[in-house]
């Protein structure tokens, strides 16, 4: 034990998982929010509201169990062979899929709230000028709330970055630099959760682990602060 520690592999894994989760969740949330606030009849929103609430309230360990029961067999038996690779399923992609389902209700709630604060008169004016529904959405709604959308994604990203148990259960936890989405990874929160047991038995190990907690805390805090500030700024 030389007392040297490096976080590169963990940070890279975290970034991979978070980014892919956001790539999956982002478009789905955006489209759903537009659909629910612009096109759908009010009873659709009435059905979807409890669905989103329940999805948001499910414990993360449940998402982890779902990942093991559903996502991993899916990856190992169908998606992996489709790309001509034999994979175990415990991979960055599995973590990202589970994570994306977890952050969807979170982002969606903020997006719906943002879209509902856009004044109706603006869309009405645009429609009255002869713009189609889609043009109105593209040039009025999305333009007006672009800052809010970006910060909603920022908030979702920091939520994804800090998520522990669900990711830990499906991501594989192998310490190496991941080179593809089918490879296992080892994100930062999993590092803390897996190693706290040995924390006090190896010298300097506890402070290294605590530093990774601090790192996580600072990164998430910065992301959150920026996103919240943007939302506050745009709501004035």
């Amino acid at each position: 034990m030389a007392g040297k520690f490096g976080y590169l592999t963990f940070i890279v894994s975290s970034v991979w998982v978070t980014m892919i989760a956001l790539l999956i969740a982002g478009p789905v949330c955006l489209l759903t929010a537009i659909h629910l606030t612009q096109y759908a009849k009010s009873w659709v929103l009435k059905i979807m509201a409890p669905v989103i609430d329940i999805l948001a309230g499910l414990p993360s360990v449940i998402f982890g169990v779902w990942g093991i029961l559903f996502v991993i067999p899916l990856l190992a038996n169908h998606i992996g062979p489709f790309f001509g690779k034999s994979v175990s399923g415990y991979s960055i992609l599995a973590g990202a899929i589970v994570l994306s389902i977890m952050i969807i209700p979170f982002i969606l709630n903020i997006l719906i709230e943002i879209f509902q604060t856009v004044p109706k008169e603006l869309s009405e004016a645009s429609l009255a000028l002869g713009a189609t529904r889609w043009q109105t959405i593209k040039f009025v709604l999305l333009k007006k709330s672009s800052a809010g959308i970006v910060s909603a994604f920022g908030l979702g990203m920091s939520r994804a970055f800090g998520e522990t148990i669900a990711v830990l259960m499906v991501v594989g936890n192998v310490v190496h630099l991941p080179s593809g989405v089918f490879q296992p990874g080892y994100p930062l929160p999993s590092l803390i959760a897996n190693n706290y047991g040995e924390m006090l038995s190896i010298p300097m190990y506890d402070s290294a682990l605590m530093f990774s907690a601090l790192l996580l805390f600072v990164i998430v805090l910065i992301f959150n602060a920026i996103s919240r500030l943007i939302i506050l700024r745009s709501s004035h």
Binding site: T32, L55, G57, F161
Partner: protein, 272 residues
């Protein structure tokens, strides 16, 4: 069209999650599992149940949501009644609470662990309750704050003109007006507390016995699922699926109860 698809995608995602877990979990659910603590060799597939984890989870989340409620209610009231004129200050408080809300639970766990080490405590129900209540405090305060914020100003003004003090307004007028929202906030925090695993991983420990005192370690459902799922023995893994079915039941019940309660108590509300 694409939008409709993505909406249905989210709806089906929920049902796929519930269905796949319940289908695997329910067949292995038995009365023995609900009512007995693990016997010898339980983790090798012998007899026993997860009664210890259910009780531990309920103790933990009841205790922590009670503490968070007792601390959080005055905070939310103070923000919305006493500080109602200092809008800038309130905005800063809300901003900070939102930041705290976003902090990952594992960071709270690590924080609770350092505090435990500092005070020389061992893993115990007490430490878990303190950590989890720290974790759910911002959630419960923000949830109650959102409810109190929507109370019309006229109510405050008329109560003040009748000569009531700020505390009377808070705990008599506003409390009654916002009871459904406050209950919903409490249940939200309860659901968060019962489902969270990362913050109690360090602090609450794990035991095969039902805790009898605050300084004993306690088992919790999420951790029971987590530990049993990593077992190589299929019987133990099946129990983990059954345990997740139990956890889903608890969370869904909390959600449904909060909906029913908030509908029921809405009748006491003064409408403007």
């Amino acid at each position: 069209m694409l939008m409709f698809l993505s909406t249905t995608f989210i709806g089906t995602a929920l049902f796929v999650i519930l269905f796949s877990i319940l289908r695997t979990g329910l067949p292995h659910l038995s009365w023995e599992m609900l009512s007995e603590i693990p016997h010898g060799g339980y983790y090798f597939g012998k007899s026993g149940g997860i009664f210890n984890a259910i009780v531990g989870s309920v103790y933990l989340s009841l205790g922590s949501s009670l503490i968070a409620f007792l601390v959080g209610l005055p905070i939310a009231m103070f923000i919305n009644i006493h500080l109602i004129r200092h809008t800038k200050f309130v905005a800063v408080i809300r901003f900070l609470l939102d930041l705290l809300w976003g902090v990952p639970s594992i960071v709270y766990g690590a924080f609770g662990f350092t505090i435990m080490v500092f005070f020389g405590m061992r893993t115990s129900l007490m430490a878990g309750i303190i950590t989890v209540s720290l974790f759910i405090l911002p959630i419960i305060v923000r949830a109650m704050d959102e409810v109190l914020r929507n109370v019309p100003k006229g109510l405050l003004e008329s109560a003040k003109s009748l000569g009531s003090t700020n505390s009377e307004i808070a705990y008599v007028v506003y409390f009654k007006q916002c009871l459904p929202g406050i209950i919903t906030a409490w249940l939200l925090a309860f659901g968060r507390a019962i489902g969270d695993a990362a913050s109690i991983l360090f602090t609450t420990g794990y035991t095969d016995y039902v805790p009898h005192a605050l300084n004993e370690p306690a088992a919790t459902l999420p951790l029971a699922i987590f530990f049993q799922l990593s077992s190589p023995i299929p019987e133990v893994r099946e129990r983990a699926y059954a345990a997740s079915a139990i956890l889903i039941f608890i969370v869904l019940t909390v959600s449904v109860v909060s909906r029913i309660l908030s509908c029921k108590y809405n009748k006491n509300k003064i409408n403007f």
